[in-house]
Protein backbone atom coordinates (compact mmCIF):
# COMPACT_ATOMS: atom_id res chain seq x y z
CA UNK A 1 0.00 0.00 0.00
CA UNK A 2 2.86 2.37 0.87
CA UNK A 3 4.60 1.69 -2.41
CA UNK A 4 1.40 2.52 -4.27
CA UNK A 5 1.10 5.80 -2.42
CA UNK A 6 4.72 6.79 -3.04
CA UNK A 7 4.46 5.90 -6.73
CA UNK A 8 1.29 7.89 -7.13
CA UNK A 9 2.69 10.94 -5.39
CA UNK A 10 5.93 10.76 -7.38
CA UNK A 11 4.04 10.48 -10.65
CA UNK A 12 1.86 13.46 -9.85
CA UNK A 13 4.84 15.52 -8.73
CA UNK A 14 6.75 14.69 -11.88
CA UNK A 15 3.76 15.49 -14.04
CA UNK A 16 3.52 18.94 -12.50
CA UNK A 17 7.25 19.49 -12.88
CA UNK A 18 7.25 18.60 -16.56
CA UNK A 19 4.17 20.70 -17.25
CA UNK A 20 5.79 23.63 -15.50
CA UNK A 21 9.00 23.16 -17.48
CA UNK A 22 7.21 23.07 -20.81
CA UNK A 23 5.29 26.19 -19.89
CA UNK A 24 8.42 28.05 -18.84
CA UNK A 25 10.12 27.29 -22.13
CA UNK A 26 7.45 29.31 -23.96
CA UNK A 27 8.22 32.39 -21.92
CA UNK A 28 11.06 34.88 -21.96
CA UNK A 29 12.51 37.10 -19.31
CA UNK A 30 10.47 40.27 -19.60
CA UNK A 31 11.67 41.84 -16.39
CA UNK A 32 14.31 44.54 -16.68
CA UNK A 33 14.99 47.85 -18.32
CA UNK A 34 14.49 48.27 -22.05
CA UNK A 35 16.01 51.30 -23.73
CA UNK A 36 14.16 52.84 -26.68
CA UNK A 37 15.62 52.75 -30.16
CA UNK A 38 14.92 55.95 -32.00
CA UNK A 39 15.23 54.49 -35.49
CA UNK A 40 11.55 54.58 -36.40
CA UNK A 41 9.36 57.58 -36.96
CA UNK A 42 5.92 57.21 -35.46
CA UNK A 43 4.86 60.62 -34.22
CA UNK A 44 7.00 62.52 -36.74
CA UNK A 45 7.72 65.99 -35.38
CA UNK A 46 4.55 66.25 -33.27
CA UNK A 47 3.61 69.24 -35.38
CA UNK A 48 -0.08 70.17 -35.28
CA UNK A 49 -2.38 68.51 -37.82
CA UNK A 50 -0.21 65.47 -38.49
CA UNK A 51 -2.40 62.38 -38.78
CA UNK A 52 0.00 60.56 -41.11
CA UNK A 53 -0.23 56.77 -40.97
CA UNK A 54 -3.70 56.71 -39.41
CA UNK A 55 -7.07 55.58 -40.82
CA UNK A 56 -9.54 57.98 -39.23
CA UNK A 57 -13.28 58.33 -39.41
CA UNK A 58 -14.65 61.72 -40.46
CA UNK A 59 -15.74 62.27 -36.88
CA UNK A 60 -12.22 61.69 -35.59
CA UNK A 61 -10.75 64.04 -38.19
CA UNK A 62 -13.19 66.78 -37.27
CA UNK A 63 -12.49 66.35 -33.59
CA UNK A 64 -8.73 66.31 -34.15
CA UNK A 65 -8.90 69.49 -36.21
CA UNK A 66 -10.63 71.19 -33.30
CA UNK A 67 -7.76 70.36 -30.95
CA UNK A 68 -5.51 73.12 -29.73
CA UNK A 69 -2.29 72.08 -28.02
CA UNK A 70 -2.76 74.94 -25.59
CA UNK A 71 -5.19 72.63 -23.79
CA UNK A 72 -2.14 71.06 -22.20
CA UNK A 73 -1.29 74.43 -20.67
CA UNK A 74 -4.49 74.44 -18.66
CA UNK A 75 -3.60 73.88 -15.06
CA UNK A 76 -6.15 71.11 -14.65
CA UNK A 77 -4.78 69.24 -17.68
CA UNK A 78 -1.04 69.63 -17.27
CA UNK A 79 -0.63 66.37 -15.39
CA UNK A 80 -3.26 64.39 -17.25
CA UNK A 81 -0.63 62.47 -19.19
CA UNK A 82 -1.27 60.25 -22.18
CA UNK A 83 -3.11 56.97 -22.58
CA UNK A 84 -1.91 53.39 -22.82
CA UNK A 85 -0.98 53.65 -26.51
CA UNK A 86 1.71 56.14 -25.63
CA UNK A 87 3.88 53.20 -24.55
CA UNK A 88 4.94 52.76 -28.18
CA UNK A 89 4.29 56.31 -29.32
CA UNK A 90 6.31 58.10 -26.70
CA UNK A 91 10.07 58.54 -26.52
CA UNK A 92 10.87 56.61 -23.36
CA UNK A 93 12.02 53.11 -22.51
CA UNK A 94 10.33 50.42 -20.46
CA UNK A 95 11.10 49.45 -16.88
CA UNK A 96 9.42 46.12 -16.26
CA UNK A 97 8.98 44.50 -12.87
CA UNK A 98 7.00 41.45 -11.85
CA UNK A 99 4.91 40.58 -8.85
CA UNK A 100 4.71 36.96 -7.74
CA UNK A 101 2.37 35.01 -5.54
CA UNK A 102 4.30 34.38 -2.29
CA UNK A 103 2.95 30.84 -1.99
CA UNK A 104 3.07 29.49 -5.54
CA UNK A 105 5.82 31.77 -6.93
CA UNK A 106 3.72 32.22 -10.01
CA UNK A 107 3.85 35.59 -11.73
CA UNK A 108 0.67 37.45 -10.87
CA UNK A 109 1.43 40.55 -12.90
CA UNK A 110 4.00 42.56 -14.77
CA UNK A 111 4.23 46.29 -14.22
CA UNK A 112 5.61 48.66 -16.80
CA UNK A 113 6.82 51.66 -14.85
CA UNK A 114 5.42 55.13 -15.29
CA UNK A 115 7.00 57.98 -17.19
CA UNK A 116 6.61 61.63 -16.36
CA UNK A 117 3.55 61.82 -18.65
CA UNK A 118 2.35 58.21 -18.78
CA UNK A 119 0.76 56.11 -16.07
CA UNK A 120 2.21 52.75 -15.14
CA UNK A 121 0.58 49.75 -16.80
CA UNK A 122 -0.16 46.52 -14.97
CA UNK A 123 -0.47 43.37 -17.06
CA UNK A 124 -2.39 40.83 -15.04
CA UNK A 125 -1.11 37.30 -15.69
CA UNK A 126 -3.28 35.42 -13.22
CA UNK A 127 -6.29 35.08 -15.50
CA UNK A 128 -8.50 37.33 -13.43
CA UNK A 129 -11.76 38.37 -15.09
CA UNK A 130 -12.18 41.80 -16.54
CA UNK A 131 -14.19 44.24 -14.46
CA UNK A 132 -17.68 45.30 -15.45
CA UNK A 133 -17.90 47.53 -18.50
CA UNK A 134 -19.20 50.17 -16.11
CA UNK A 135 -16.09 50.01 -13.94
CA UNK A 136 -13.67 52.91 -13.73
CA UNK A 137 -11.87 53.69 -16.99
CA UNK A 138 -8.34 55.03 -16.60
CA UNK A 139 -5.51 56.25 -18.82
CA UNK A 140 -3.69 52.94 -18.34
CA UNK A 141 -6.82 50.82 -18.70
CA UNK A 142 -7.16 47.22 -17.56
CA UNK A 143 -4.75 44.75 -19.14
CA UNK A 144 -4.73 40.97 -19.06
CA UNK A 145 -1.84 38.97 -20.54
CA UNK A 146 -0.91 35.41 -21.42
CA UNK A 147 2.03 33.64 -23.00
CA UNK A 148 1.26 32.59 -26.53
CA UNK A 149 3.51 31.18 -29.24
CA UNK A 150 6.67 32.42 -27.55
CA UNK A 151 5.30 35.96 -27.17
CA UNK A 152 3.54 37.78 -24.38
CA UNK A 153 0.07 38.65 -25.65
CA UNK A 154 -2.06 41.17 -23.78
CA UNK A 155 -5.26 43.11 -24.25
CA UNK A 156 -6.10 46.49 -22.74
CA UNK A 157 -9.68 47.60 -22.18
CA UNK A 158 -11.32 50.15 -19.86
CA UNK A 159 -9.25 53.03 -21.21
CA UNK A 160 -10.32 56.54 -20.51
CA UNK A 161 -11.24 58.61 -23.57
CA UNK A 162 -8.05 60.31 -24.66
CA UNK A 163 -5.69 60.51 -27.60
CA UNK A 164 -3.83 58.15 -29.88
CA UNK A 165 -1.46 60.83 -31.06
CA UNK A 166 -0.20 63.93 -29.33
CA UNK A 167 -1.52 66.06 -32.16
CA UNK A 168 -5.02 65.61 -30.77
CA UNK A 169 -6.18 62.50 -32.62
CA UNK A 170 -8.85 61.14 -30.28
CA UNK A 171 -9.55 57.67 -28.96
CA UNK A 172 -12.77 56.74 -27.19
CA UNK A 173 -13.28 54.75 -24.03
CA UNK A 174 -14.60 51.92 -26.22
CA UNK A 175 -11.14 51.36 -27.69
CA UNK A 176 -9.24 48.13 -27.14
CA UNK A 177 -5.52 47.66 -27.55
CA UNK A 178 -3.91 44.31 -28.32
CA UNK A 179 -0.25 43.97 -27.50
CA UNK A 180 2.41 41.45 -28.46
CA UNK A 181 5.81 41.54 -26.87
CA UNK A 182 8.43 39.60 -28.87
CA UNK A 183 11.90 39.07 -27.54
CA UNK A 184 14.81 38.22 -29.85
CA UNK A 185 18.05 38.17 -27.88
CA UNK A 186 18.50 41.60 -26.35
CA UNK A 187 15.84 43.12 -28.58
CA UNK A 188 12.24 43.54 -27.45
CA UNK A 189 9.71 44.44 -30.13
CA UNK A 190 6.33 45.69 -28.93
CA UNK A 191 3.45 45.43 -31.36
CA UNK A 192 0.35 47.53 -30.69
CA UNK A 193 -2.95 47.02 -32.49
CA UNK A 194 -5.48 49.65 -31.40
CA UNK A 195 -9.10 49.44 -32.48
CA UNK A 196 -11.80 52.00 -31.88
CA UNK A 197 -15.30 51.61 -33.29
CA UNK A 198 -15.86 55.35 -33.25
CA UNK A 199 -12.66 57.00 -34.41
CA UNK A 200 -10.63 54.42 -36.36
CA UNK A 201 -11.64 52.99 -39.73
CA UNK A 202 -8.90 50.39 -39.42
CA UNK A 203 -6.71 49.43 -36.48
CA UNK A 204 -3.74 51.61 -35.72
CA UNK A 205 -0.79 49.23 -35.84
CA UNK A 206 2.52 50.36 -34.44
CA UNK A 207 5.61 48.39 -33.54
CA UNK A 208 8.56 49.69 -31.64
CA UNK A 209 11.80 48.02 -30.62
CA UNK A 210 13.74 48.37 -27.40
CA UNK A 211 17.16 47.07 -26.38
CA UNK A 212 17.90 45.45 -23.04
CA UNK A 213 19.67 47.95 -20.83
CA UNK A 214 22.35 46.92 -18.35
CA UNK A 215 21.50 49.91 -16.20
CA UNK A 216 18.14 50.48 -14.55
CA UNK A 217 16.05 53.05 -16.35
CA UNK A 218 13.65 55.23 -14.46
CA UNK A 219 11.51 57.79 -16.23
CA UNK A 220 9.36 58.80 -13.30
CA UNK A 221 9.17 62.50 -12.64
CA UNK A 222 6.93 64.52 -10.46
CA UNK A 223 4.36 66.63 -12.28
CA UNK A 224 3.89 69.99 -10.65
CA UNK A 225 1.10 72.06 -12.20
CA UNK A 226 1.91 75.72 -12.64
CA UNK A 227 0.41 78.78 -14.27
CA UNK A 228 1.03 78.65 -18.03
CA UNK A 229 -1.28 81.39 -19.24
CA UNK A 230 -4.63 79.85 -18.47
CA UNK A 231 -6.61 80.50 -15.30
CA UNK A 232 -8.79 77.74 -13.86
CA UNK A 233 -12.24 78.17 -15.32
CA UNK A 234 -11.01 79.68 -18.59
CA UNK A 235 -12.64 78.34 -21.71
CA UNK A 236 -10.92 75.34 -23.27
CA UNK A 237 -8.61 76.35 -26.14
CA UNK A 238 -9.86 74.94 -29.43
CA UNK A 239 -10.40 75.74 -33.10
CA UNK A 240 -13.40 75.50 -35.33
CA UNK A 241 -12.40 72.41 -37.35
CA UNK A 242 -12.53 74.24 -40.66
CA UNK A 243 -10.49 77.14 -39.34
CA UNK A 244 -7.52 75.37 -37.84
CA UNK A 245 -4.62 77.73 -38.60
CA UNK A 246 -2.10 74.90 -38.63
CA UNK A 247 -3.79 72.73 -41.21
CA UNK A 248 -1.06 73.28 -43.82
CA UNK A 249 2.04 73.46 -41.64
CA UNK A 250 3.18 69.83 -41.65
CA UNK A 251 1.90 69.35 -45.18
CA UNK A 252 3.93 72.23 -46.58
CA UNK A 253 7.09 71.43 -44.65
CA UNK A 254 7.46 68.03 -46.29
CA UNK A 255 5.34 68.48 -49.44
CA UNK A 256 2.94 65.81 -48.27
CA UNK A 257 -0.46 65.13 -49.83
CA UNK A 258 -3.38 66.52 -47.86
CA UNK A 259 -5.29 63.23 -47.65
CA UNK A 260 -2.23 61.52 -46.18
CA UNK A 261 -1.69 64.18 -43.54
CA UNK A 262 -5.38 64.09 -42.63
CA UNK A 263 -5.40 60.34 -42.03
CA UNK A 264 -7.37 58.82 -44.88
CA UNK A 265 -7.37 55.03 -45.01
CA UNK A 266 -6.27 54.64 -48.62
CA UNK A 267 -2.97 56.34 -47.85
CA UNK A 268 -1.76 53.35 -45.82
CA UNK A 269 -1.59 50.93 -48.76
CA UNK A 270 0.90 50.60 -51.65
CA UNK A 271 -1.71 51.56 -54.26
CA UNK A 272 -1.66 55.08 -52.89
CA UNK A 273 2.04 55.37 -53.60
CA UNK A 274 1.39 54.60 -57.22
CA UNK A 275 -1.48 57.06 -57.31
CA UNK A 276 0.66 60.05 -56.28
CA UNK A 277 3.75 58.99 -58.23
CA UNK A 278 3.31 61.54 -61.01
CA UNK A 279 2.18 64.45 -58.89
CA UNK A 280 4.46 64.31 -55.87
CA UNK A 281 7.36 66.77 -55.78
CA UNK A 282 9.94 66.18 -53.03
CA UNK A 283 10.94 69.15 -50.91
CA UNK A 284 14.25 70.77 -51.83
CA UNK A 285 17.34 69.81 -49.86
CA UNK A 286 17.61 71.73 -46.65
CA UNK A 287 20.65 73.85 -45.99
CA UNK A 288 19.74 75.73 -42.82
CA UNK A 289 17.12 75.62 -40.04
CA UNK A 290 16.31 72.17 -41.22
CA UNK A 291 12.89 71.23 -39.93
CA UNK A 292 11.39 71.04 -36.52
CA UNK A 293 13.98 68.65 -35.15
CA UNK A 294 17.01 69.20 -37.34
CA UNK A 295 15.95 66.45 -39.65
CA UNK A 296 18.39 67.00 -42.44
CA UNK A 297 22.07 66.63 -43.01
CA UNK A 298 23.61 70.02 -42.38
CA UNK A 299 26.06 69.65 -45.21
CA UNK A 300 28.98 68.88 -42.97
CA UNK A 301 31.32 67.98 -45.82
Amino acid sequence: MLIHLVARRAAVALLFAVLAASKASAQFDFVGSWAPLATEDIQNDSLPVDYLGLALTDEARTRALSYDESQKSMIERQCAGWGAAYMVLGPFGLRVTSQTDPVTNRVVSFTIGAWEDWNEMIIWMDGRPRPSEHALHTHAGFTVGRWEGGALAARTTHVKAGFIRKTGVPLTDQATIDWRFFRHGDLLTVLMVATDPVYLVEPEIVSKSFRLSRTTLDYRAECVPAYEGHEPGDSIPHFAPDQNPFIDEFMKLYHLPREAVLGYRETLYPEYRKKIKDTYVPPPPCTESCGAAGNFVLRRQ
Binding site: I3, H4, A7, R8, A11, L14, A21, S22, K23, S25, A26, L37, T39, E40, D41, I42, N44, L52, G53, L54, R146, W147, E148, G149, G150, A151, A153, R180, F182, H184, L187, T189, L191, V193, P203, I205, S207, K208, S209, Y254, L256, A260, L268, Y269, P270, Y272, R273, K274, Y280, P282, P283, P284, P285, C286, N295, F296, V297, R299, R300, Q301
Partner: protein
Protein backbone atom coordinates in the same frame (compact mmCIF):
# COMPACT_ATOMS: atom_id res chain seq x y z
CA UNK B 1 -14.67 -5.76 -1.54
CA UNK B 2 -11.09 -5.35 -0.34
CA UNK B 3 -9.87 -7.49 -3.22
CA UNK B 4 -11.70 -5.33 -5.73
CA UNK B 5 -10.28 -2.20 -4.12
CA UNK B 6 -6.76 -3.65 -4.17
CA UNK B 7 -7.11 -4.61 -7.84
CA UNK B 8 -8.27 -1.11 -8.75
CA UNK B 9 -5.53 0.41 -6.68
CA UNK B 10 -2.92 -1.73 -8.44
CA UNK B 11 -4.36 -0.82 -11.82
CA UNK B 12 -4.32 2.87 -10.97
CA UNK B 13 -0.72 2.64 -9.84
CA UNK B 14 0.31 0.86 -13.02
CA UNK B 15 -1.47 3.49 -15.07
CA UNK B 16 0.25 6.26 -13.17
CA UNK B 17 3.62 4.61 -13.62
CA UNK B 18 2.97 4.31 -17.36
CA UNK B 19 2.06 7.98 -17.42
CA UNK B 20 5.20 8.61 -15.41
CA UNK B 21 7.34 6.88 -18.02
CA UNK B 22 5.49 8.57 -20.85
CA UNK B 23 6.09 11.98 -19.33
CA UNK B 24 9.74 11.10 -18.82
CA UNK B 25 10.08 9.99 -22.41
CA UNK B 26 8.16 12.88 -24.00
CA UNK B 27 10.73 15.67 -23.68
CA UNK B 28 13.42 13.28 -24.88
CA UNK B 29 11.31 12.50 -27.91
CA UNK B 30 10.76 16.21 -28.54
CA UNK B 31 14.46 16.92 -28.22
CA UNK B 32 15.23 14.04 -30.55
CA UNK B 33 12.83 15.50 -33.05
CA UNK B 34 14.46 18.89 -32.74
CA UNK B 35 17.98 17.49 -33.24
CA UNK B 36 18.25 14.17 -34.96
CA UNK B 37 14.62 14.22 -35.94
CA UNK B 38 14.95 17.67 -37.40
CA UNK B 39 17.64 16.34 -39.70
CA UNK B 40 15.08 13.99 -41.12
CA UNK B 41 12.29 16.58 -41.26
CA UNK B 42 12.49 19.35 -43.81
CA UNK B 43 12.26 23.01 -42.81
CA UNK B 44 8.86 23.11 -44.46
CA UNK B 45 7.60 20.20 -42.36
CA UNK B 46 9.13 21.62 -39.20
CA UNK B 47 7.71 25.14 -39.66
CA UNK B 48 6.20 26.36 -36.37
CA UNK B 49 4.42 29.22 -38.17
CA UNK B 50 2.97 29.51 -41.65
CA UNK B 51 4.37 32.46 -43.57
CA UNK B 52 3.17 31.44 -47.00
CA UNK B 53 0.69 33.46 -49.01
CA UNK B 54 0.24 37.05 -50.08
CA UNK B 55 0.94 39.91 -47.67
CA UNK B 56 0.48 43.64 -48.15
CA UNK B 57 2.44 46.46 -46.51
CA UNK B 58 0.42 48.46 -44.01
CA UNK B 59 2.33 51.72 -43.77
CA UNK B 60 1.65 53.32 -40.40
CA UNK B 61 5.27 54.07 -39.49
CA UNK B 62 8.08 55.87 -41.29
CA UNK B 63 5.41 56.97 -43.75
CA UNK B 64 7.36 60.03 -44.80
CA UNK B 65 10.42 57.95 -45.65
CA UNK B 66 8.63 55.06 -47.33
CA UNK B 67 5.56 56.29 -49.21
CA UNK B 68 7.28 59.27 -50.78
CA UNK B 69 10.90 59.97 -51.63
CA UNK B 70 12.26 62.22 -48.88
CA UNK B 71 14.33 65.30 -49.62
CA UNK B 72 17.92 64.77 -50.60
CA UNK B 73 20.05 64.77 -47.49
CA UNK B 74 17.44 63.63 -45.03
CA UNK B 75 18.75 60.73 -43.00
CA UNK B 76 16.99 61.31 -39.71
CA UNK B 77 16.44 58.13 -37.66
CA UNK B 78 19.28 56.34 -39.44
CA UNK B 79 22.53 56.17 -37.44
CA UNK B 80 24.69 57.04 -40.42
CA UNK B 81 28.43 57.31 -39.91
CA UNK B 82 30.51 60.34 -40.93
CA UNK B 83 31.74 58.26 -43.87
CA UNK B 84 28.17 58.08 -45.17
CA UNK B 85 27.54 61.83 -45.23
CA UNK B 86 29.39 62.65 -48.48
CA UNK B 87 27.47 59.87 -50.22
CA UNK B 88 24.16 61.08 -48.80
CA UNK B 89 24.80 64.59 -50.04
CA UNK B 90 26.01 63.38 -53.42
CA UNK B 91 22.97 61.22 -54.15
CA UNK B 92 22.24 61.33 -57.86
CA UNK B 93 19.32 59.12 -58.90
CA UNK B 94 19.87 59.82 -62.59
CA UNK B 95 23.44 58.57 -62.32
CA UNK B 96 22.18 55.44 -60.56
CA UNK B 97 19.71 54.88 -63.36
CA UNK B 98 22.39 55.31 -66.02
CA UNK B 99 24.67 52.89 -64.22
CA UNK B 100 21.95 50.27 -64.02
CA UNK B 101 21.73 50.70 -60.24
CA UNK B 102 18.05 51.58 -60.06
CA UNK B 103 17.49 48.68 -57.64
CA UNK B 104 19.85 50.10 -55.03
CA UNK B 105 16.97 50.93 -52.67
CA UNK B 106 15.40 47.48 -53.12
CA UNK B 107 18.25 45.45 -51.57
CA UNK B 108 17.84 43.21 -48.54
CA UNK B 109 18.65 46.11 -46.20
CA UNK B 110 15.53 48.00 -47.26
CA UNK B 111 13.22 45.82 -49.32
CA UNK B 112 10.82 44.88 -46.52
CA UNK B 113 10.16 48.58 -45.91
CA UNK B 114 9.36 49.30 -49.55
CA UNK B 115 5.55 49.53 -49.78
CA UNK B 116 4.25 46.60 -51.80
CA UNK B 117 3.17 43.00 -51.62
CA UNK B 118 5.04 39.86 -50.69
CA UNK B 119 4.37 36.43 -52.12
CA UNK B 120 5.88 33.81 -49.86
CA UNK B 121 6.16 30.20 -51.03
CA UNK B 122 8.34 27.17 -50.46
CA UNK B 123 10.72 26.85 -53.41
CA UNK B 124 11.66 23.44 -52.11
CA UNK B 125 11.44 21.69 -48.78
CA UNK B 126 14.36 23.68 -47.31
CA UNK B 127 14.15 26.99 -49.17
CA UNK B 128 11.61 29.68 -48.45
CA UNK B 129 11.08 32.12 -51.32
CA UNK B 130 9.90 35.70 -50.97
CA UNK B 131 8.95 37.65 -54.05
CA UNK B 132 8.12 41.35 -53.96
CA UNK B 133 5.96 43.07 -56.53
CA UNK B 134 7.71 46.38 -55.80
CA UNK B 135 10.97 46.13 -57.70
CA UNK B 136 10.24 42.48 -58.65
CA UNK B 137 12.86 41.16 -56.27
CA UNK B 138 13.28 37.54 -55.14
CA UNK B 139 14.76 36.48 -51.82
CA UNK B 140 15.69 32.90 -51.04
CA UNK B 141 15.99 31.81 -47.41
CA UNK B 142 18.08 28.68 -47.13
CA UNK B 143 17.58 26.53 -44.06
CA UNK B 144 20.84 24.89 -43.15
CA UNK B 145 21.50 22.03 -40.79
CA UNK B 146 24.89 23.21 -39.61
CA UNK B 147 26.62 26.50 -38.90
CA UNK B 148 29.56 25.65 -41.17
CA UNK B 149 27.24 24.86 -44.07
CA UNK B 150 25.44 28.14 -43.45
CA UNK B 151 28.72 30.07 -43.36
CA UNK B 152 29.96 28.60 -46.62
CA UNK B 153 26.59 29.24 -48.21
CA UNK B 154 26.63 32.85 -47.06
CA UNK B 155 30.01 33.59 -48.62
CA UNK B 156 29.48 31.79 -51.89
CA UNK B 157 28.63 33.38 -55.21
CA UNK B 158 28.75 36.94 -56.45
CA UNK B 159 27.29 39.77 -54.41
CA UNK B 160 23.70 40.64 -55.17
CA UNK B 161 20.95 43.01 -54.04
CA UNK B 162 19.38 40.26 -51.95
CA UNK B 163 22.64 38.56 -50.90
CA UNK B 164 22.74 35.10 -49.37
CA UNK B 165 20.26 34.34 -46.60
CA UNK B 166 20.42 31.55 -44.05
CA UNK B 167 17.30 30.82 -42.07
CA UNK B 168 16.45 29.05 -38.84
CA UNK B 169 13.22 28.42 -37.03
CA UNK B 170 13.12 29.61 -33.44
CA UNK B 171 10.58 27.37 -31.83
CA UNK B 172 8.41 28.09 -28.81
CA UNK B 173 6.75 25.26 -26.98
CA UNK B 174 3.81 25.14 -24.65
CA UNK B 175 2.47 28.47 -23.44
CA UNK B 176 -0.94 29.20 -22.03
CA UNK B 177 -2.50 28.71 -25.42
CA UNK B 178 -0.50 25.53 -26.11
CA UNK B 179 0.35 24.62 -29.64
CA UNK B 180 3.86 26.04 -29.73
CA UNK B 181 4.48 28.67 -32.37
CA UNK B 182 7.71 30.47 -32.91
CA UNK B 183 9.61 32.74 -35.19
CA UNK B 184 11.83 32.75 -38.27
CA UNK B 185 15.33 34.18 -38.00
CA UNK B 186 17.15 35.10 -41.20
CA UNK B 187 20.71 36.37 -41.57
CA UNK B 188 21.72 37.91 -44.89
CA UNK B 189 25.17 38.91 -46.11
CA UNK B 190 27.18 38.92 -49.36
CA UNK B 191 25.23 42.00 -50.40
CA UNK B 192 25.81 44.58 -53.07
CA UNK B 193 26.02 48.04 -51.52
CA UNK B 194 22.58 49.64 -51.43
CA UNK B 195 20.37 52.30 -49.93
CA UNK B 196 18.41 52.13 -46.69
CA UNK B 197 16.20 54.91 -47.92
CA UNK B 198 15.19 55.91 -51.42
CA UNK B 199 17.10 59.19 -51.16
CA UNK B 200 20.49 57.54 -51.07
CA UNK B 201 21.29 56.84 -47.39
CA UNK B 202 23.82 54.06 -47.92
CA UNK B 203 24.79 50.68 -46.56
CA UNK B 204 27.96 49.01 -47.73
CA UNK B 205 28.63 45.55 -49.09
CA UNK B 206 29.94 44.64 -45.64
CA UNK B 207 26.48 45.08 -44.14
CA UNK B 208 24.67 42.23 -42.45
CA UNK B 209 20.90 42.08 -42.21
CA UNK B 210 19.28 40.07 -39.42
CA UNK B 211 15.52 39.64 -39.56
CA UNK B 212 12.93 38.09 -37.26
CA UNK B 213 9.63 37.13 -38.83
CA UNK B 214 6.73 36.92 -36.36
CA UNK B 215 3.03 36.51 -36.93
CA UNK B 216 0.15 37.76 -34.80
CA UNK B 217 -3.62 37.57 -35.05
CA UNK B 218 -5.66 40.69 -35.78
CA UNK B 219 -8.94 41.47 -34.01
CA UNK B 220 -10.89 41.09 -37.27
CA UNK B 221 -9.62 37.53 -37.69
CA UNK B 222 -6.83 38.49 -40.07
CA UNK B 223 -3.11 37.85 -39.68
CA UNK B 224 -0.23 40.25 -39.33
CA UNK B 225 3.38 39.62 -40.30
CA UNK B 226 5.94 41.61 -38.37
CA UNK B 227 9.50 41.74 -39.71
CA UNK B 228 11.96 43.12 -37.19
CA UNK B 229 14.95 44.10 -39.30
CA UNK B 230 18.41 44.90 -37.93
CA UNK B 231 20.98 46.30 -40.34
CA UNK B 232 24.57 46.43 -39.13
CA UNK B 233 27.29 47.99 -41.21
CA UNK B 234 30.82 48.76 -40.01
CA UNK B 235 31.31 51.30 -42.79
CA UNK B 236 28.23 53.51 -43.05
CA UNK B 237 26.43 52.99 -39.73
CA UNK B 238 27.60 53.84 -36.24
CA UNK B 239 25.05 51.47 -34.68
CA UNK B 240 22.35 49.00 -35.66
CA UNK B 241 19.49 50.38 -37.72
CA UNK B 242 16.32 48.66 -36.48
CA UNK B 243 12.92 48.89 -38.13
CA UNK B 244 9.86 46.65 -37.94
CA UNK B 245 7.61 46.94 -40.99
CA UNK B 246 4.40 44.93 -40.91
CA UNK B 247 2.12 43.30 -43.43
CA UNK B 248 -1.50 42.17 -43.53
CA UNK B 249 -2.37 38.77 -44.96
CA UNK B 250 -4.41 38.84 -48.16
CA UNK B 251 -6.70 36.11 -49.38
CA UNK B 252 -5.12 35.81 -52.81
CA UNK B 253 -2.83 37.46 -55.35
CA UNK B 254 -5.51 39.49 -57.12
CA UNK B 255 -3.80 42.77 -56.15
CA UNK B 256 -0.30 41.58 -57.09
CA UNK B 257 1.15 44.31 -59.30
CA UNK B 258 4.79 43.86 -60.33
CA UNK B 259 6.56 47.15 -60.93
CA UNK B 260 10.22 47.56 -61.90
CA UNK B 261 12.83 49.24 -59.73
CA UNK B 262 13.02 53.00 -59.88
CA UNK B 263 15.84 55.15 -58.57
CA UNK B 264 13.56 58.12 -58.01
CA UNK B 265 10.26 56.60 -56.88
Amino acid sequence: MRTVFRTWSMAATVLLLLLFLGVLAAPTAVRAQQRGGAAARSARDAAPIDLTGYWVSYVTENWRYRMVTPAKGEYRRIPSSPAALPLINAWDPAADERAGNQCKSYGAGAIMSVPGRLHITWQDADTLRIETDAGTQTRLFHFSQSASAAASQASSGPRSWQGESTATWERATGGDGGGGGGSLRVVTSNLRAGYLRKNGVPYSERATVTEHFDVAPLPDGGRLLLVTTIVEDPVYLIGPYVVSPHFKKEADGSKWDPTPCSSTW
